[in-house]
């Protein structure tokens, strides 16, 4: 069967990236040039990260990330570009997600009320007792 592809995220095309000069371009100029970063670092003023990945799905198997481009632009203290790094899929780690979740202490309405709450649709096919062999 044919694989199905799906793209997520955005990395600026090479021609626009070429315009970024280390040590010259500042953070504000960058904004107009290559667009919104996919996300940035934890602390204010830390690097900008552009990530684009391509996912392939074969039939019933879990979708697999087959290609990832990461462009990491870091800034010095004064907000001038200090480094433009490009990483691929192999640079990342395969991370097992922790199953520990902080439960919210507001439980919401109970199971029975949820079930009862949504009755009311007249199900036509059952009403007529029609179910084919």
């Amino acid at each position: 069967c044919q694989p199905l592809y799906e793209n997520h995220g955005y990395v600026p095309p090479a021609d626009q990236l070429a315009g970024v000069q280390v040590g010259k371009t500042t953070r504000d100029e960058l904004d107009g040039m290559i667009g919104r970063p996919s996300s940035s670092g934890v602390l204010a003023g830390s690097g900008w990260y552009y990530v684009q990945s391509r996912w392939r799905t074969y039939g019933a198997f879990a979708p697999k990330e087959v290609d990832r481009q990461v462009v990491a632009i870091s800034f010095d203290g004064k907000g001038v570009v200090s480094d433009v790094a490009r990483y691929g899929l192999d640079h990342g780690e395969v991370v097992t997600l922790s199953r520990r979740v902080t439960e919210s202490n507001i439980k919401g309405i109970g199971i029975v009320r949820q079930l009862m709450g949504s009755f009311g649709r007249i199900s036509p096919d059952q009403a007529l007792g029609h179910n084919d062999k």
Partner: protein, 752 residues
Amino acid sequence: EDFRFSAVKIEGNKRIEPATILAYAKVAKGQTVSGDQLNDAYQRLVGSGLFETVDLVPQGGTLVIRVKEYPMVGVVAFEGNRVLKDDAIAKSVKTKPNHVFSPAQVEADANLIAEGYTQAGRINVRVDPKVIRRGDGRVDVAFEIKEGYTSEVHRISFTGNRSYSDFTLRQALSTKQAGILHRLIQSDNFVPDRLEQDKQNLIDFYQSRGYPDAKVTGISSDMARARDGYFVTFNIEEGQQYKFGNITTVSEVPDLNVDEFAPLAKIKTGSVYTPTAIDLAITRMEQLALKKGANFVRVDPRVTRDPATQTLNVQFALVRGPRIFVERIDIKGNTTTLDSVIRREFRTDEGDPFNPREIRNSADRIRALGFFSKADVNTKPGTNPDQVVVDVNVEEQPTGSLTLGASYGAASGFGVLVGVQEDNFLGRGQSLGVQIGTTADNQQSSIDFVEPYFLGRDVKARMHLWYDTTSNDNADYNTRIQGLQPSVEFPVAENSRLEARYAYGKKKLFGVTDYTAASGTTPASGSSPVLSYEQSLGERTASSVGYTYTWDTMTTNLDPRYGYTFKFGQDYYGLGGDVDAISTTALLAAQRKVMHESVRLRAELEGGVITPRSGSDLTILDRFSGYGKVRGFESHGWGPRDVGAPNGDALGGQYFWALRTETEFPIGLPEEYGITGGLFWDTGALWGVSSSERALAMGLDDSDKMHIRSAVGFSFFWRSALGPLRIDFSKAIKKETYDKEQNFDLTISTKF
């Protein structure tokens, strides 16, 4: 000037506390108070809406606040209303019993009621409120309503319509002339804003038939002399009809090559211009761009007009749109459905490039879930100019249904049917159906569970268990079929999905009365020896593995007017168990909408064959029955039959094919009824019983040769609150003498 009060005295308050009045007045003892501060206090007291009159009287060192409270509202009544019932009006009225009476509110309520009437098409209605003071400071409010008579539209006429008759134009309007049925139909009432909407209907009518410049220059409605209705006239300027000139496509996006996009325009030069043809071309091109993963691509139609030859040349330009990203997807209104069940219908994640076409597709997928009465997806600006927030607003509707039935059969005794069907189990998008029937003669119990996104993947996992028994009340033998079938279904290519399944079941045929020849006065009786033989095989287990490949452009196709579906499935019986055979079925369906999408044509060709491994047997429970293949016949009413046996039992067949063609068209009833008519013609054949069993039969017809049946009929479609209903009246035109017809059938189909 200034005042200094050492004391504040409050007079005339009955229900309202002094502390409350002081809280509003905000005048403290011993504090210097200027003139306008006093005025502010006065305004605040009046503003509270609790007092009929307020006056502040400075008497030397003390400030006297003299108030007269509004009374409480006792009873609120409506008199003289026939068209709108009391509770319908009460809902919009704000004056409520046991609340503070306020004359301004009563005035506002009177207008609300009048407004309610204009919506219902009654414009000359007078509402005047009466206030009745009761002794103990309470007040009753009565709204006297003079509904007068409805004002209908007697005649609708048009000026300037050269190409289309008044009759055809009237079909396009939502306001109808008052005909004989005017008592029933609301749409012939004279409602000003509906006329406004009809102006747009007329323009759309003309534009979709090639008149881009059509205009409605004015609507004149003059009162009939008898003052009971109106004559409405639409003045139209048609302008000229245009045809499509040459259609070109150009790409300003480097990595998209034009030749792939040009054929998608599908507009023939010389065909009549319609805006929908251009929209469909854009849809097709943008979907292809989406598939090729090109971000920020938009298709701009550049239309140039050539009045001399009355043609329009259209150039579809692939342009790179502005670079906008989805900042966040906010989902609101989901009081039952979980956030992830809606979010997973988006192919766009947060942070991805914003693609309006993809967002529209996601909105369709959310609506297709069937959990919401309303699902609006629109965008609003994000925190930065190049960001947008996708806002999803849904309104839940009940998705669970409970069926309770009880039956008492003389032979079968008391029975009960309990059915629960929940399509959005606990808001997780899972569907759970449990049906337990205990009536003795035929019992249908089943459990059906579907998880559409198994482990978060686009894989539909389903578990179906069933336990069905039929008894000889309405057939000449008993059957008991039980089993379970787990299956998974997943996409294998763009428009196609594959279902893989395993089925394990037990089928038992019993209670067959053996054939006894006639002797003396008692006539022959009993069923066909074939059934007796099959009964002797006892309970047979069937363990099979199978698949069904489905290629379907109905849901995801680019052009709503065309749709094709192809299904091909096989089941291999013989993984252990007694049944050892291969069953193959196939279906090809095509559907087309013509005449401005008002008429639907549909054709379905279906076939199936079940061949037992050499030497093994098939029973009537394995062979195909006539159910749902050709309309106009009972499910066991046609196909192979042992006519020699007294009971003349139908035996089902190993081979079948069926061709069903039908059309659906409006029958002139106003749209709000949702009733359309249709014609259909079905033909097909069901045949084939194994040669060894044919030898046993008394007088078997249809066993080896194919006898074609066909039937015609007309049907009514009604999109009712119960769901789409369909009523078929059919007449068999080619049948065997022993067939059993079924001329009337009421079915609920999920969609037409």
